[in-house]
Structure formats: C-alpha cells, structure tokens
C-alpha cells in the first residue's frame, strides 16, 4: 500500500483552458494547461528509506581523458561515500567496448573498498558505444531487481560527453528501450558532460526513462550534479506519472514541450515521469477542435497514473477538466482569453518553438527550421495580440527565425535545447552557471558568427 508516512501520495492536478467556447463550425484551437504539484511528504525521520539499486554508467571514451574522467571518478566516489550499506551499486564503463566492473555490490565497507579500487583503475579508451554501456548497466541492475526480495528503487545514471557513434544511436530507439525499462521498474537519468554530447540522445533516454537530464558544462560541475541527481532520486515522491488524455473523435491534440506523447486506444498518453517532493510541472496541450452542435459540450477526459517509490502498486485518479462548449464563431471570438492561463501557454509554446527549430537545425535542415519558426511566430502574434505582457515573451523569436537557417554551434544548440527542456519541466540546472535566456543565446550565436567572419576576412587580407 502507499507509503511515505501513512498518507496517500497523490499529486494535485489542475486542468484549465485558455478559452472554454469552441466554434460550432470546427477548427478552434484551445490550449489545455495541466499543472501538477507533487506532495511535499517525506518519509518520517525514523522511517528507513527505500534501498537503492543504483547503476552508474560512465563514459570512458577517449574524449573523457584528463579532467572529465577525473571529475567523473570523484563524483562516483562521492556517491559511494554518501550511500548507506543497504544500497547496492553497479559500475559500468563504456567506450568502443563495455566493461562491467561491479554488479550490484552491497555498499558495506568491503563493497566501498572494492568500488573505490575499481574506480581508481578506470581509464579511457576508444569511441562511444553509449547504448551498449547503458543497456549493459541496466542489465546488471535488472539482474539484482529480479532476484531481490525487498522493494528497492532501481535507478541508472548514465554519464557521457559524446554522441553515441557505435551500437544503437537513434534517439527514438533509445527512447523506446528507456520507456520499456521504465515500465518494468528501471528509471534512467542522464548527465551530459561538456559541449559535445548529444542532447537529443541523452534527453530521449532520460525523458522516456522517467528520469532527468542534467548538463555538466564543466568538469567541475560533474561531482555536484551527480550528487544532485542522487538527492533528486531520493527526494522523488511520485514516479512514472502519466497523463491519459481522452478526446472525442475529430479532436487533434499536440503537446508542447519535450514529454513523450503516445497514442493509445482511447486517446493519448503524456509521460511526465518522476517528480520531486513539492515540485510543480506543467503540461500544455494544443487541441484543434472538431465541429459540433451549438450548446453541446466537447468533453475532454483526463486521468493520471503514477507509482510511489517503495511501493509495488500503481495508482490513478481522474482530473476534473472544464467543459468546452460549442457556440457560434462570433461568440468564440468575443470570449476573452484567460490571461493567466495564456501566460503559461505562451511560455511553453515559445520553448517548444525553440526546441523543435533547434532539432531541425541540428538535423541539417535549417530552411525547415526557419519556416517552422516563421509559421509559429504568425500564430503566436495572433494569440498574443492586444496583451503586452504576452507579446514580450515572443520578442526574441524574430531574430532566432532568421539565424536558425544556418547551423548552430554544438555549444549554443545544446544550451537552447537544455533551456527548453528545463523550462518545459519547470526545473533548474544543478550546474554552476544557469542557462542564458533564448534571446541571449540567439544573440551569442550571431555574435560568434560575426567574429568568425571577421577572422576569415582578416585572414584573407593577410
């Protein structure tokens, strides 16, 4: 039964629409904003926490040589020192091969000594077979999970500084495996190191894996971030949170943000994942509505399902959703937008535009990225018309639209995607430096290009 004291651990969920009238002729676009607040409950001080079955999967490819690997080892040693002897640790490193250094070692004195020795002997080698390293570590965690008699929290932390370039590399396939493993009780979080890792690969794994993605911009950030992830893991009060959206035939939903969105027999599932105690997440779903009879209701159903760490049950609840009522086009246009809800919509919408455009940009299709941004700017302008505080939020998109036609540097694109990801999840970075806002990042990219042009021109002159 549900733990954490003797209280049901249920997130609080509020669903709102920016407008509740929809056109009888069809084609109305409405935004459903779901705000989820995780309870603050923590286990009582004298209540032992759920033991951790932790897998640390470390990138040992050549690019990690020097400070990154040293910092990674230090981070892992911190983890070993911080965990009690009721926890178990698997240690895997990957490069072109995968090495299982230790599997489900109990962190008593002997176990700590073993892991410490193994970490000290870890060295770099070859290319980046990220998928095999990750799945290998998951296998070790799964082996212990399969034979362990007590309920443990099965968590994998994958740390990498590069793009997977061997084994499985497709983000959608990595996400598929992550999702399957999450449903089977293994959560994966990821830590990207430096500027050259693949945010799309690591994010796909973390999002679908029910965990979190972190950015360790500098080697000095690694220890802090790995410990922060560990703390996040232990502070998680709700896991595997999924929203199930049920929509009438003809309704076309599209979520903003990066959360996995999958069709089901009755509608769509949005994976929110794990939530820390007291955390707030917001999911915004755009709904293109069908035609309907005046005064009738377009009923949107919403329910949530989740698990609780230390429990072996799944829980669910319905979420009350305001009704959308069909009315004549003029009445719909005359209906004022709920400004508070609209602000939440625009924040997620803008982040969504930056993220999607950057994915296209990094895929090498800058023209498509520009077209996408221009099209979204048009819709956003219309949405924000007459509301100054909303228009402010879309101010930087114009410059971005023109600059995104040319390929962004790995550093700036990573920062843009990271900011969008964190905004969508309502999370802050654990690293030393916070990300710049979108407009600043776009301006930095433009300045970098200008400087590069000047350098080339000066070189030509010489």
């Amino acid at each position: 039964m549900i733990t954490n004291g003797n209280t049901l651990v249920a997130p609080e969920m509020i669903a709102e629409f920016d407008r509740t009238l929809v056109n009888t002729a069809g084609g109305s676009v409405r935004h459903l904003v779901v705000t989820i607040r995780a309870p603050r409950q923590r286990p009582a001080a004298d209540e032992p926490r759920t033991p951790l079955n932790l897998g640390l999967i470390l990138d040992a490819s050549g690019s990690m040589a020097g400070r990154p690997l040293a910092a990674t080892k230090a981070a892992a040693l911190n983890v070993v020192a911080a965990l009690p002897e009721t926890d178990h640790l698997t240690l895997v490193s990957f490069a072109e091969d995968v090495q299982l250094h230790a599997e489900a070692v109990r962190l008593d004195a002997e176990g700590r000594a073993l892991i410490t020795t193994l970490l000290r002997s870890l060295d770099t080698r070859g290319s980046t077979n990220l998928a095999d390293g990750w799945l290998g570590g998951c296998t070790s965690v799964a082996r212990r999970h399969a034979v362990c008699d007590v309920i443990e929290r099965n968590q994998v932390v994958l740390l990498s500084d590069g793009h997977a370039n061997a084994g499985e590399t497709r983000p959608q396939m990595l996400a598929k495996h992550a999702n399957e493993l999450r449903q089977r009780g293994i959560v994966t979080s990821t830590v990207g190191v430096g500027h050259n890792y693949s945010p799309t690969q690591l994010q796909a794994i973390a999002e679908a894996g029910g965990g979190r993605m972190h950015d360790a911009e500098e080697p000095g950030d690694i220890a802090q971030i790995v410990m922060a992830e560990l703390n996040d893991t232990l502070a998680t009060v709700v896991d595997n949170l999924e929203l199930r959206l049920t929509v009438p035939s003809g309704t076309q939903p599209e979520p903003y943000g990066t959360a996995p969105f999958t069709p089901t027999a009755t509608g769509y599932d949005v994976l929110v994942g794990g939530m820390l105690g007291g955390a707030t997440r917001r999911v915004v779903i755009k709904l293109k509505c069908p035609a309907g009879e005046a005064a009738s209701t377009l009923a949107i159903g919403l329910s949530a399902r989740w698990t609780v760490p230390g429990d072996d049950k799944r829980y669910a609840c319905d979420v009350a959703v305001p009704g959308l009522r069909f009315d004549a086009g003029n009445a719909c246009l005359a209906q004022p937008r709920d400004i508070d809800v609209a602000k939440k919509v625009v924040e997620q919408w803008v982040a969504h535009v930056y993220y999607r455009a950057m994915v296209l940009n990094q895929d090498g299709d800058g023209q498509a990225a520009t077209r996408f941004v221009e099209q979204e700017i048009t819709h956003l302008r219309r949405y924000c018309a007459g509301v100054p505080e909303l228009q402010e939020a879309i101010g930087g998109l114009d410059g971005f639209g023109s600059s995104v036609a040319l390929q962004y540097t790995a550093h700036t694109s990573k920062e843009v995607m990271l900011r969008a990801y964190k905004l969508a999840r309502g999370e802050s970075n654990h690293r030393e430096r916070e990300t710049h806002d979108f407009a600043t990042l776009s301006a930095m990219e433009a300045a970098g290009r200008k400087a590069a042009r000047n350098r080339r021109r000066d070189g030509d002159v010489k």
Partner: protein, 215 residues
C-alpha cells in the same frame, strides 16, 4: 446540502444518510467495521463529524470505481488518505474515483523479472549482441589462474550450465567482483533462479575472502 450548523455540531445519522443516499444501517455497519469514524457522542442524538461524511463519499467513489473492492480493502485505503485529501476528494477538487484497482489498487507493477526479460529479448538486436560479446569477456588464462577457472566451471555445473569451450566466440560470461583482486566468472545463460543461486554463492565467497584478509 450541508449547512454551517452541520459543520459546527456534526451530522446525525439521518443527515449522513440523506447526504449520501446510504442506508443508516449500512452506515452503522461501516462504523462498526472501522471503515469510517463513529459518532462523537452516544444516544439517539449522536452526531458524526464532518470527516465521516467525507469518508463516506470517498467510499462511494471507490465502490463506483471498482465494484470488486472489498470493504476491508476500502478500510485500509481510507486509513492511508489524510483528512485534507479526503476532503478534497469529497468536494471534487481531487478526484480519486479511479484510484483503485482498474489500474490502481491491487494492480501490481510488472513482475520483477520483466526488465531482465525485456533486456534479454532485445539481445537479438545489435545492442544485445554487443553487450554480451564485449562485456562478458573471457577470464584470464587458466595457466595463471587455474583455481578460479575450476571454481567457475564447478559453479557453472552447480547452477546447471555445462561448461563449454572457452574459445567459443560470442559466448556469455557472467562476472561478479568478489574483492578488488578476485572476480567470479561463470560462462553460460542463467535464468532468474540460477542467478539468485549464483549471487548467494558469491556473497558467501566474498564473506569468506574478506574475513580471511582482515584477520
């Protein structure tokens, strides 16, 4: 509709019944079985706290969500819900009507071997093959570590996996670190039961080895 007076002084059995549509005798039986709080006073004018009404409403929601729930299951569930959560559910701000059993209470998570089964099922893909071929590398040469090889072979036999040629390509080795210097490597594919046995053996060996070095 509940009045302010009801809030202040509680509700009679008849008022509870009128609010919820539940027969008075059924309400009494719920109280007797500890499912909902009883009255704050005794006698004909006994008054029930507001929480009784809220819990009764939640009980009905649970019953609506899953007709198969037993009263005992409901009692346990209601004990786990805080008064504020019960109030929120009862007044409709938090709807836990489906809380239970369809996909919730009573529905356990996937089996403990599900993740391992999944990972084994994708071994046919490059991901799985690569993991086996590269991670589970053969142990050191037997000339240098004959005792370890013998132990591995003996253990493989013990857990039901006949030893095969060490030179076979793509073979699977299952390795467990015992101490910083010694690891146990066993060749073969193991089911869950065999893995559990192997881990128990490893734990015993580790205990023996570490005790031996510390004394």
């Amino acid at each position: 509709m509940k009045t302010d007076q009801q809030d202040a002084s509680g509700l009679t059995l008849q008022e509870l019944s009128a609010e919820t549509g539940v027969e008075p005798r059924t309400i009494r039986s719920y109280v007797e079985k500890g499912v909902i709080p009883g009255p704050e006073s005794l006698g004909r004018g006994a008054r029930y706290p507001r929480e009784t009404l809220d819990r009764l409403k939640v009980l009905q929601l649970l019953r609506d969500a899953n007709r198969d729930l037993t009263l005992d299951q409901i009692r346990v569930l209601l004990q786990r819900i805080s008064a504020s959560q019960v109030g929120a559910i009862a007044n409709g701000t938090l709807r836990i009507g489906a809380l239970i059993d369809t996909d919730a209470i009573g529905a356990s998570q996937p089996s403990k071997t599900a993740a391992l089964d999944y990972l084994q099922s994708i071994r046919g893909t490059p991901v799985g093959r690569s993991w086996n071929a590269s991670v589970q590398s053969p142990p050191p040469d037997t000339d240098h570590l004959p005792a370890l090889e013998k132990a591995a072979r003996a253990l493989a036999t013990l857990v039901g996996q006949p030893a095969s040629s060490r030179s076979a390509r793509g073979e699977t080795w299952y390795r467990i670190a015992l101490t910083p210097d010694i690891e146990l490597s066993v060749r073969g594919e193991f089911d869950t039961e065999q893995l559990a046995q192997l881990h128990r053996i490893s734990d015993s060996l580790r205990t023996l080895l570490t005790k031996g070095t510390s004394t």
